[in-house]
Subunit: 326 residues, 2 copies
């Protein structure tokens, strides 16, 4: 054995008393007689032989690495999704290369370019970059963002979720609805939440208004809008659907500071459904995204690379969480 | 150019009209005349040449990958720490290989073994595994867990944080204190929170009790203990320090369900100081860990590989958050 250095395949072959090719077959998972396999495995274990996956990466053109491109882990939805994606990838024998973009388009582009350079096997991206500079040679699966028919996009059933929220508020007695949403610079599947919501309002003949803000901006325009619609301590609207739990919670706090009671005076539904880490409760009544299933689906679609539909939407469900009268 | 395949260094050399060695120098950041550098860069850009970092990994024995071993991203402290570590590593030109252990010792061991196999440059680990099977050839920096004098450990100043919590509760008028903590299977730096707390109580002559639970178990024993110390609607203790914000919030909810008011009847301080994503407020009065600084320090210590002290503690501060009368 070459002294001072890590043992090589040659060392293992010598120790096991087999040909180098036999060691290679065992390491690369190719068919080989059971007795040979055992000899090689015992020798590898004895010498502390570690597979040099960089050499393997060169040879088989597989790195068993997938990049996870995420805006931030401060948002519990992104954190749980990353957690689930990383665990799903590990279960399939793949490692996760985490790339935090911090909502910065330039960082997103750099991520995609880095990804190509480092010969990862694929990318799972939640990105709002107008043009992340997709690399043809690297398969990509996106979450909530539809790039092209060649790039599968996984999302929760946003349209159905929006319908569900409107139907629930109407069935709980609301007569004058409001929809608050934040929109990203580029079109994202998330916008379907508002479309589904509006469809039900129209079908049911229930009055509604909508207000959109640019994602990342402060919520102050929401508060100003609400203030303009409070007369004698009463809000003109009795049901509010927000396109994230975060907006719902922040709007709730604002209304409560104005003496308006939730859910007695106004009922509210958010979207995401992450159970709060501190209280172990939902932070509001909400439409729950099936995070574990979204993650597992994204991983399977990426790794199988079979012909996938360009959009895969997964079912959501409603969960009461204290901001509705149910 | 070899048709159908990605361009190689040879293709770049031919296109630029320079020697292969010159291309190699440019790619590996070695000194070369400015005119040559420009020729090579233009040719690389024209051909869409991507550095094959696996070949580079083999040659320079550097992969520019660091494994982040984390229990879970569902805990906002772990999520923010991972976020900060990944961004710090990226700023230093390193990528993060995320490994979620889900508090499972076997998964932790597998992570360390995988790490060695895949020739990463280092590991930053927050691990509670009794024996993760450390690999001598891979430098490791730990968070909150001291392995040996050879492995630098980064933590917040847990001892000072515990002292700060006791001093604050005492200065706010508390006369009968309680300390609730969860302990991991192995000793962790986190236990110093209780030691600092107790030191101040003893020095100041203030009565205190402590109750430890095994980490991961339910908090029911805390609730049972509290129930036993409520007489005629009054809790025997008037100040509680919890070794995490999560326990503080859960204990607060329990006490409120028993009609005890926080902070009027009982004042509480937690530990961690993550600002709540939904409300943008601290979840309780708390000792704040300097996450960004802990992450940057961990990365610097790992990458510099200079002689580091085996323990590096970073200063904490107190932040009022509604569960104390300040």
């Amino acid at each position: 054995m070459n002294s001072g250095n890590a043992p090589t395949m040659k060392d293992v072959a010598r120790e096991a008393g087999v040909a180098l090719g036999t060691v290679s077959k065992v390491i690369n998972g190719k068919p080989v007689g059971e007795a040979y396999r055992k000899k090689v495995e015992a020798a590898a274990k004895k010498l502390g032989y570690q597979v040099n996956s960089y050499a393997r990466g060169l040879k088989t053109n597989k790195t068993y690495c997938v990049a996870l491109v995420m805006p931030s882990l401060k948002n519990p939805f992104f954190a749980e999704l990353t957690n689930a994606l990383s665990r799903s990838l590990a279960a399939h024998g793949y490692r996760s290369v985490l790339m935090i973009t911090n909502f910065d388009s330039d960082i997103e582009k750099k991520c995609f370019s880095l990804a190509a350079q480092h010969k990862i096997d694929g990318i799972i991206a939640l990105t709002y970059c107008p043009d992340p500079g997709m690399v043809e040679s690297v398969p990509v699966v996106t979450i909530d963002r539809h790039f092209s028919s060649e790039t599968p996009c996984i999302s929760s059933d946003n349209y159905e979720g929006g319908k569900m929220a409107a139907s629930k508020l109407i069935s709980l007695g609301c007569k004058n609805l409001l929809f608050f949403s934040t929109k990203t610079e580029v079109y994202s599947e998330v916008e379907k939440r508002g479309l589904g919501f509006q469809e039900v309002c129209r079908t049911e003949g229930v009055a509604f208004q909508t207000l959109d803000l640019k994602s990342g901006d402060s919520e102050v325009p929401f508060y100003r809008f609400l203030e303009q619609h409070i007369r004698d301590g009463v809000l003109e609207f009795d049901g509010i659907f927000c396109n994230s739990d975060r907006i719902a919670v922040r709007v709730q706090k604002f209304l409560e500071s104005k003496g308006i009671r939730i859910p007695e005076d106004v009922q509210m539904i958010g979207y995401d459904g992450i159970v709060d880490f501190y209280t172990c409760q939902p932070v509001c009544s909400t439409i729950v995204q099936p995070i574990a299933r979204m993650a597992e689906t994204a991983v399977q679609v990426l790794l199988n690379q079979t012909e996938s539909p360009s959009n895969i939407t997964l079912p959501v469900y409603y969960l009461p969480g204290g901001t509705t009268r149910d």
